[in-house]
Amino acid sequence: MSERSVERALGLLAAVGLAIGLCAGFLYAPPDAEQGEVQRIMYLHVPLILVSYLAFFVVFVASILYLARRRERHDAIAHSSAEIGVLFTALAIAAGSIWGRPTWGTWWTWDARLTSTAILLLIFVGYLMLRALVDDPSRGATVCAVLGIIGFLDIPIIHMSVVWWRTLHQPASMLRPGPPTVAPQMQVALYANLAAFALLYAYLLLKRVRLEQARWELSRLRMEVAG
């Protein structure tokens, strides 16, 4: 299968998955016993944040590969994944903020996980700004690869420091050991949305990488024409 058709298939799957996820989140899953309808934001908030962590992990791995092998493709993956990660993190924070207003009574609070997510967003916004500022593409790729690596290594340290600083967030309910405390329909809706957003991420990543490669091709052709 060619890259184009993989991309098209992923796009289709993501669209179907998101539609199923919407139905599951709004119709299949029951409203929360305490929070009511507003808890449905979880089906957007949690997948977005989990997928953005995946995106930053991809930046980390692709950055190491770029430094080791110097392939343009690895740089394109790191750059594209960072862009999607920043978008998803920002959306997750916005969705969380809308969820926090009725349940915690505030748009923003300096809770541990909230704070460390915001710091992560700042680091990778810096990554995108740095990339935009470096004119030489291969210099930009190297510099950003180093930043992608140390930015990712910083995540556990940031997390630990901020947890010691303060904590208020409800403990993670899906990814911890022991029996889950969430109703089975809710879990189904959450996993459906998680899969849909992961597909959306894969689709956007492929598309964005291809765009980046088309850009190089264009600048190479321009150089050739200019002689």
């Binding site: 430094l67 710091i119 190297t142 690869a145 180093v146 140390i150 340290i157």
Partner: protein
């Protein structure tokens, strides 16, 4: 231990150049003092409020200040192609990073040694009895700051907006360090039991180890082109 000897030679060169014009040092001390001076206007002269926040104020002033020296330390290597000269120097790239790191560390530590007494006078803090403990907190904090700062300044050197870019990258990455060093200083200045500062010291130690190692591994890629 040629690596260490070569790193020391580079640090010595940087410090000698700094000693001859004292440009970074003077600017940094004055800037840090100015920030500490300005804070009291932000707080409207409320002494209790200032004292409660003083550890955070001190370190924010020092971290803002450190950007001045860090940005310059690699930037001046680009002028007159000094960096190319350094790269011809028969040493591993790691020695260049370590030398730059030591030079930056020494300058920031010296600035701190001048600023601490000024801080004590301005904010009416009893510093003298606590000075050894304060230095024990300040040292790992400053090592981490200089380690990340040296790496980042070699990334941003030569860029169009480097003055803005260095703090954009440095501040978010060093937030764990800022939290730790501020909490540690609070423990010391308020006379709380020193045990409370130990977890923060460990955190700074972990930060320093992770970032010095990561910098040593990645620095050669940044200068090889």
């Amino acid at each position: 231990m040629t690596l260490v000897r070569r790193a020391l030679a580079i640090a010595r060169k940087d410090l000698l150049a700094e000693w001859r014009d004292r440009e970074s040092f003077t600017a940094m001390v004055f800037f840090a003092f100015l920030i500490l001076f300005l804070y009291s206007f932000a707080f409207g002269g409320d002494q209790a409020l200032i004292r409660a926040a003083s550890s955070g104020l001190l370190w924010l002033a020092l971290i803002f200040t450190s950007v001045l020296g860090l940005a310059r330390s690699v930037q001046w290597e680009l002028e007159n192609e000094c960096l190319d000269g350094l790269l011809l120097y028969p040493a591993q790239r790691e020695a260049i990073y370590l030398g730059k790191l030591l030079g930056n560390l020494a300058v920031i530590l010296l600035v701190e040694l001048v600023i601490f007494p000024l801080f004590a006078v301005l904010y009416n803090v009893d510093l003298w009895s606590q000075l050894p403990k304060l230095l024990l907190i300040a040292l790992p904090g400053t090592v981490g700051l200089a380690a990340v700062g040296t790496l980042l300044s070699s990334m941003t050197a030569g860029l169009r907006a480097r003055e803005a870019m260095l703090p954009f990258l440095l501040f978010p990455l060093t937030i764990p360090l800022i939290l730790a060093v501020v909490r540690g200083t609070e423990v010391v200045l308020r006379g709380e039991p020193f045990d409370l500062a130990v977890p923060w010291l460990k955190l700074m130690g972990a930060f320093d180890v992770v970032f010095v190692t990561a910098s040593l591994l990645t620095f050669e890629y940044l200068v090889e082109e």
